[in-house]
């Protein structure tokens, strides 16, 4: 194995492995009380039991469904609104101030309103996640489009590109790195919103599992839920990174040159 392969593949996992080993050791040597911090092996055992009962996969899939729906609806709306604000002066003047005002309202403050309007069912939870994803996508799409290098726009103008060509060749690809940054940020806020949504009158999902475990002082399940969230967060990060690798190939080529 070469040094760079080790650095690329194994180094990111080194710290989590060391933490887990230290955690296991600390519990076994009774440096910490296991009722507050159960050993990793006990958390794994809980996971196996819950998996066999079908509880784990059911709750993970429900949470994933809510997260995906919320992200697609909210992220999609944020993208479209950002696109319109970035490309149309009239739209920007009409809607941007209002959207920016709404953006500053904390998500938590909207829970009573969302519950009142949509009840406590699935639409309310999805709506809550969607609201959390909408604003990061809006801001980044809008910012990406309005920050395009004016020299490139002038070049497009002097080469007589039409509106569609301008958008396809210059505006959208130029804004894409910032839009993908918005995707990454929205994926982060998506999980945060989901946790909050699933602790409010839910009867399924990882958030519900965690709240329910808290009532029964089931610390192992609480840790299991936290670990699942960490894995799902890492999965989102992995997806975002891969999107960047696929769509920003040109940037990777420039980066590889500077790293040489």
């Amino acid at each position: 194995m070469t040094k760079s392969t080790f650095k690329k593949k194994f180094l990111p996992w080194l710290l989590p492995i060391v933490i887990i080993l230290f955690w296991q050791l600390a519990v076994q040597l009774k440096w910490i009380q296991s009722e507050f911090l159960p050993a990793p092996t006990e958390v794994v055992q809980t996971a196996i039991v819950d998996w066999k009962k079908g509880i784990l996969q059911k709750n993970i899939s429900i949470s994933l469904f809510r997260a995906t729906c919320g992200f697609v609806i909210g992220g999609g709306m944020g993208f479209i609104l950002g696109l319109l604000s970035g490309t149309s002066k009239l739209f920007r003047k009409t809607f941007d101030s209002t959207i920016q005002m709404l953006r500053t309202i904390p998500n938590m403050a909207l829970i009573p309103l969302v519950v009142l309007i949509l009840g406590i069912g699935e639409p309310a939870k999805i709506c809550f996640v969607a609201l959390a994803c909408l604003f990061p996508m809006y801001i980044n799409t809008y910012h990406g489009i309005t920050s395009i290098d004016p020299d490139l726009l002038e070049m497009g103008k002097s080469y007589q590109l039409n509106t569609v060509q301008m958008f396809k060749q210059i505006i959208f690809p130029g804004a894409l790195p910032t839009i993908l940054m918005g995707v990454r940020y929205a994926l982060g806020t998506m999980w945060t919103a989901l946790i909050v949504a699933e602790t409010v009158s839910a009867d399924s999902g990882i958030g519900y599992m965690s709240t329910n475990a808290q009532q029964y002082v089931d610390v192992k399940t609480i840790y299991l839920c936290i670990i699942i969230y960490a894995f799902l967060g890492e999965l989102s990060n992995y997806i975002a990174k891969n999107l960047e690798t696929i769509f920003l190939e040109w940037r990777n080529s420039a980066r590889s040159l500077t790293e040489e």
């Binding site: 002097s158 060509q165 060749q169 940037r251």
Partner: protein, 239 residues
Amino acid sequence: MALIELDGVSKKYGDKTVLKNVSLKISEGDFVALCGMSGGGKSTLLRLISGLEKADSGSIKQENKEISTINSDARMMFQDDRLLPWQTVIQNLLFGDKSEERIKLAKRLLDRVGLIDYQNSFPASLSGGQRQRVALARALMSQPKVLLLDEPLGALDALTRRNMQDLIIKVCSETNITTILVTHDVQEAVRMADKIWIIKNQGIAKELTNPERNNQTAEAQLKKDQLVETALSCILDNN
């Protein structure tokens, strides 16, 4: 008949007059260099011909047609290459039009500028000189009648600059394209152009011809050196 004709053209940016009552004629196939101090209005003149800017007064015509919007028969090469970093070299030439004819033309032009082997590379992996060569090929894609060069070699090192000068001279003489070069380097102007116009005091201060441009004899070189001196003294003269 003149290909490009400017008559009494003036241009102001705010309160500052950049060009005042400029009139000139450029014939087909000419290689004209506009020389002068920075901020003298050379680039503005080029932008007016390209249609990127509008004159406050006067008329600008190409083939007797008034240039009121972007000049479709002229293409500009800027000081910075302005290549799209997210597109490969060949994609930068095609602008999304992947018709067989356009691809053939793009490949031919890349071959002409010596970059056919780099057609699938991204601009970031090219040197400054190579990127300007791509920009030159891109400017020639629409087979324009006029090539506008806005100090495209300003940021290059001496050796690359010399190679690019040779390439531009070669391409322009092969295609017989009318070329207008903006430069503050008088030696570059004398090396490349057959007409040198000194821009000063918001107008054309002097018109110099360079009949020995392609002549490499010692006598011709002496004449070119004298032309450089004349141009320099005109630029630096306070009157």
